[in-house]
Point group: C2
Chain length 489, copies 2
Amino acid sequence: MNAYDELMEFARTTQALAQVAGRLGWDQETMMPRAAAPQRAEEMAAMEAVLHARRTDPQVGAWLEAAETTGPVQVANLRLIRRDFERARKVPARLAAEIARVTSMAQGVWARAREEDDFAAFAPTLKEVVALKREEGAALAEGADVYDAMLQDYEPGATAAGLEEMFARMRPRLVALREAVLDKPAPTALTGTFDEGAQMRLARQVAKTFGYDMARGRVDKAVHPFSSGSGLDVRITTRTNPVDPFNSLYSTIHEVGHGAYEQNIHADHLLTPVGQGVSMGVHESQSRIYENQLGRSEAFAVWLYGQMREAFGDLSVPDAQALYAAINRVGSGYIRTEADEVHYNLHILLRFDLERDLIARRLEVGDLEAAWNERFATDFGVAVDRASNGVLQDVHWSIGLFGYFPTYTLGNVYAGCLYEALRRDVPDLEGALSQGDLSPATDWLRDKVQTHGGLFQPRETIARACGEEPSEEPLLRYLEEKFGGLYGV
Amino acid sequence: MNAYDELMEFARTTQALAQVAGRLGWDQETMMPRAAAPQRAEEMAAMEAVLHARRTDPQVGAWLEAAETTGPVQVANLRLIRRDFERARKVPARLAAEIARVTSMAQGVWARAREEDDFAAFAPTLKEVVALKREEGAALAEGADVYDAMLQDYEPGATAAGLEEMFARMRPRLVALREAVLDKPAPTALTGTFDEGAQMRLARQVAKTFGYDMARGRVDKAVHPFSSGSGLDVRITTRTNPVDPFNSLYSTIHEVGHGAYEQNIHADHLLTPVGQGVSMGVHESQSRIYENQLGRSEAFAVWLYGQMREAFGDLSVPDAQALYAAINRVGSGYIRTEADEVHYNLHILLRFDLERDLIARRLEVGDLEAAWNERFATDFGVAVDRASNGVLQDVHWSIGLFGYFPTYTLGNVYAGCLYEALRRDVPDLEGALSQGDLSPATDWLRDKVQTHGGLFQPRETIARACGEEPSEEPLLRYLEEKFGGLYGV
């Protein structure tokens, strides 16, 4: 065997082990007996130690030096292996271990602080996390921009400067749109109680409608919906709320977007570095276009109205048009994960600015809550009433995820671009959606984006699918048209 | 850290990884999407490679040489680690890999041959397996008895000669008992159909009644019932049959015996070598005493009758005494896993003699089917009608399990001894059982057997619990009394 083949065999085994570790995570949220947690922590730590040793194995460096490549797939695999290897090599083992220790403890501290609406109880721990992440970022950056280095973990190729410029163009238009919409009366909401068994049956049916392959996946309940795994075993979770069937429905469609992406990567790439979604932003573009541009569209509401009446009996809204309006009600809430499409990106822009300031030492943890509340009042026109509705609402910072938040908005931006290209390429998209036929849309996404996995860089993946460089314009146009139409602004 | 502590830290991580591999096995039989099998095979192979590398790591040998011990727990841990290390060292890597390859292929060949009742289609593959296992056995035996060496994988300390003598004493009494019982009319069977949801509810309730801790376990359905895992995460499976509620009930109780054993090992031993059931024979003693001596007892039938009426409505048998008789109906079937207590050990004795002859080259695979059928006719008084009811019924030999079968009867023998000691130590055992209070029995088993895990050798574990050396006498007395009483012989 030559160096490339040897390296790929090694990488394939590493990827198989990573899939096992991921499945442990799925099990923990769905099946694990409740008293098993302490043992599970040791099992996960053992898996992580095995994976870390493989990722930093000096033999990988030797193979990388010796490997010769003959085509784009090989080039991409080497690029991805090299990135992981160099990242692991740059962070001292002591620091990596300390980050693992502190963040695993910090998540518990955050959860208790959130429960008690007490940011001060979390601040000392967050301070430790921020200090460690600054140190790690500096090690990764090697003199260049620290936040940029952090971004590469989630969105290779993205830069803080590029995101900042784009977000600066988005913010005034989003603020203007929310103000215009909130001046108008809100459409009627869907009310009633909805059988949770029927919700799960509808969720599974809708998952299949969106192309999720049940032979290579399964749908279970979990407190926080997620998608897990790559290749032939990609599992998703959802949740039910007896008075809100949209929660289950759109959680499911969102996770199906993530799951279908992983399922639709070309079979040749199974268990190779290229055989996974290329970045968080591109992943989120799939979950968002499934959930929003397709799942919350006027055309899809036509089909959905019939399905919901079949599942739940008579609804409190009279027709598909009213269901479409109810699905897309805009309201200024505190919580990112419950935000409508108009507000969602404003939540992200706030977090992006604050976390960049934290990492750049322009902001310290002691001033974080005040900074959050001030910005929230400016952008949302409402004062934060308590910490759990403000700075304590998200788990991300407690577990050391800095540089992750912007990928949510990047995903929305990519979804906007893809949707415009999809409508251009697929003539009667609305006709198909209104009959519950998602295949023209999901086939297009599979062939243009998903099948490639990590073959191209993230931004290149989107640019190739759209035939042009991605920008925020299509998303903003889509939002202004959709909500302008719905609210008559 | 001293050598012992370093070795134990290493062993603990290995044990945690082994738990992960075991949980993958559970997932495969209960939750895995059906099309995920090829990926799962790679994941399992990756885990096995990691575990094999750790078990044969030369550092383990160095630690074993340097480690000093100060008490019985440390002595036992070193003994168990040394056994695994030396076993792994004795078998050449090439041979281990070849056995893994051939047996994984052979299982499929066996399954197809069984389906088509065609032993000749399986024979060439079984020949390969037997040849490889003979070679492995010779490597393990280093000049001593090959079958004895194989036994050590499942029942450390057992010898073929010892088992042969014991089985020779059992066989005539078992044959005589089955002949006497089959001369009498059989009691009325339980008939009807039994809601499978109600069967699962009853299974979970009975599992708890027998002391299975649901906070550290769970009960799911699987094609073949099994128990999986140690410590804080021990899962069992069962199955349901709409016309046979005993199938679900006694599969559950049997697996609860295995699962409770693992759950009840002292918490200090978590994820250490001592922290697992000590042998297959002792494991089976727990599953058998739960299932048979306790679960199929006259006293327990009193409580069970009420539970089953509550679960299923009116039964076809009029009272607890009739239920007890129905549970313990004796019939001469072909299949080991469906055998009653009188016939079960005759099935094992047959397999023990044949597999010993195979390994010792006194019998070749080409003559195996004829040898099986001849012996079956002698001991069971019935001619085997087809291979799937005879030599092809069990998976064991196809996957290379030689030396495993006798542990089933050894488990029954141990259960007989334990039951005699239990009745001596617990005055009103029957009174408690008739009220569905299993705790006097399960507490005794926990404190006398289960809590020790691998602290003592298997036979010593039983001897300490019983206060005397184990023998077949108590089991035979129990069977003769129970079935003599039931059938009036």
